[in-house]
């Protein structure tokens, strides 16, 4: 057994998994609250990556240092992704709140196609290089022979964001409103929760997390194009279902399980079948736990 190879795979799996988890959170939160698979979520993440790239390009040419560029790029990306998420909800989902469940799904797919082509036409259809803007602390450079320092930064950022989100949902008033809306919209409304507002907040938070994921993965992989959101969205959705859709720790766990499975599968079996491993583990887990790893299987009462 080659331990350093194993460690490499483990680290890259964990890194990828934590980014999947960041995007999966957006899916899971939106799903929890309005039972919609938000197919445009991957595009929000892609827009986040593009906005960060543009901001970074402008700021670097102005001569700012790396750390400032990184923070500002993330900030602008988060603002814009949230704005897009908010607008998409208002245009494509809000008018369909009382329609059958598949109508918003198709509307989401249409939105996803629209946003992809919007970015392709207004920017470029080619892959563009993404600068290495993730600042690496000094002490991590010493261990860079063993672990990838960028990976460590990504994992740390993800963990911090997750903890912040959990606290937000558990402790704040708006978090409470979100949980109430997810449980029962009508009842929440009767208790004085502004449901429309709460749904908007959910979209804004989910989009902000996707933007962070977009910046991190852009800097990690080193290039982006208008199509990255589609694949990442599919993977993140898989991760969300794997962990039990609607559950926030589930999304985190699902993302990590998915990332590790892919990493070990490609490393030890074959790199051609990367996506097959992801879906095989999904099917296997769902056969034994039909509501995902952490999902609650609620017994229906008649």
């Amino acid at each position: 057994m080659d331990w350093s190879y194993f460690l490499d795979l483990f680290m890259s799996g964990l890194t990828k998994g934590s980014i999947y988890a960041l995007i999966a959170l957006g899916y899971t939160m939106v799903y929890g609250i309005i039972q919609l698979i938000n197919f445009a979520h991957g595009e929000i993440y892609m827009i986040g990556a593009f906005v960060a790239l543009i901001t970074a390009t402008i700021l670097t040419s102005m001569g700012l240092n790396l750390f400032a560029v990184f923070i500002l790029a993330i900030l602008v990306a988060v603002i814009y992704s949230s704005a897009y998420g908010f607008t998409v909800e208002k245009i494509a989902y809000k008018p369909l709140r009382h329609a059958s469940r598949l109508s918003p799904l198709i509307s989401a797919i249409g939105m996803s196609i629209f946003l992809q082509n919007y970015v392709m036409l207004s920017q470029t259809a080619d892959f563009v290089p993404f600068p290495e803007i993730i600042p690496v602390p000094k002490f991590l450079e010493k261990v860079s022979d063993y672990v990838d320092p960028v990976g460590v930064v990504i994992i740390v950022v993800t963990v911090v964001v997750m903890i912040a989100l959990s606290l937000f949902v558990k402790k704040t008033k708006i978090g409470k409103a979100m949980r109430a809306t997810a449980q029962n919209k009508t009842m929440a409304m009767l208790c004085g929760v502004d449901v429309d507002n709460t749904i908007s907040v959910t979209f804004v938070i989910g989009s902000a997390l996707a933007a962070i994921g977009g910046v991190l993965i852009g800097a990690y992989v080193g290039q982006i194009n208008f199509y990255i959101g589609f694949i990442a969205g599919l993977k993140a959705f898989t991760a969300a279902v794997l962990g039990g859709i609607g559950s926030i720790p589930g999304a985190a766990l699902g993302g990590v399980v998915l990332g590790l499975t892919e990493s070990f599968g490609t490393g030890y079996v074959s790199s051609d079948y990367e996506d097959v491993f992801a879906f095989v583990i999904l099917v296997l887990i769902l056969i034994f736990r039909p509501a995902g790893i952490l999902g609650k299987s609620n017994t229906e009462k008649v």
Binding site: I37, A83, L96, A99, L102, S107, L282
Partner: protein, 413 residues
Amino acid sequence: MERLVEEVKKSLITAAWFVFLTFPMIVVKLHSAENRVSYRWINALYVAIGAFFISFIWRYLLERRDKKSSSDNVEDSLVYKVLNHPVYSKILYGAVFVFVLIFPLLFSTYQTNIMTTALIYVVLALGLNIVVGLAGLLDLGYVAFYAVGAYGYALLSKYFGLGFWAVLPMAGILAAIAGIILVFPILRLKGDYLAIVTLGFGEIIRIFLENWDGLTNGPSGISGIPRPSFFGMEMKVDQSLIFIYYITVALVIFTIFVVNRLQVSRLGRAWLALKEDEIACQSMGIDRVRAKLTAFALGATWAGFAGVIFAAKTTFVNPASFTFFESVIILAIVVLGGMGSIVGVIIAALMMILLPEYLRAFSDYRMLIFGLAMVLVMVFKPEGLIPFRGGRLVYKKREPGKDGSSNEKRAYS
């Protein structure tokens, strides 16, 4: 007057919001090679003006939609009047049928070929309609069965020299078996869990086709697939394509007939019950497992047929034709048409396939318009273009002066 000021204010805010929103994409242009950006300020003005006026129209249309859905009955609309009228509907169907028959004579082979593609999608959508529209099982990997049909024909003709007519029924059976294999382990899954597993199944099939070089020739695909024969007659390419067109038309008619009959069969009603409520459906004595299996198997069969025709038409298959996007398009056709409604599905299939084809004039913008059209149709027609009105019992009032014995006619529409 006050209302006008209010509306203008709303539109101004919308315009400002969209200028902000589109700024980094439409105004800023990234030149990644030179590591700099340039600015296209004029675009901001276009966005502002566009958003200002469109927001008026948007609000007006939404208001009208909400008013309409609460007051009017959909059955009263002109489309339904024609479709339900005993004479007009027959005239309409007859005219469409004649038009379809003489289509290759009126238009070029190129147009006929596009029409064949559209009709293949009609078959696919009607097949998926069984699974999604009737049985209410969301299937995001339907394209897998299409691939089974297409590759089934390609491989059977390559390795065993089987012809089109021999493979056509076999492909249907193969696809049905694939459907049963897929659904058997996941009978317990519901709703979106089922959706993601079917999605995964579709992707797994595609990835295997892409990587199993020895059998499927990998991403480069299989070429030289024979076109269908007509009692051993030699045909030129043009004639052969027109022949395929008529085969597709025949298949569409057969599909419509079968789906129509299925809807009102015992099985079709079992599916509708399954869609409404699984537990209630079981307690009525419907075998849930059987209903699910037959829905998937029958749905897949049509995809298998369509796959064979597709392979025969293009004489070439590769994995790129069977991506997730294809499943999405087929699902979009079903929902846009109005789930369960045959006429709606046909119209939506023609729209979804012919629209991008004839939008080629706008080349770059066609997919942008396509995506936008999907959103707009859903927002303003959430139940689809021609909503399905079947599956419920309609009590017709007694007409005065008639025989009282059948005073309440029950019609199952």
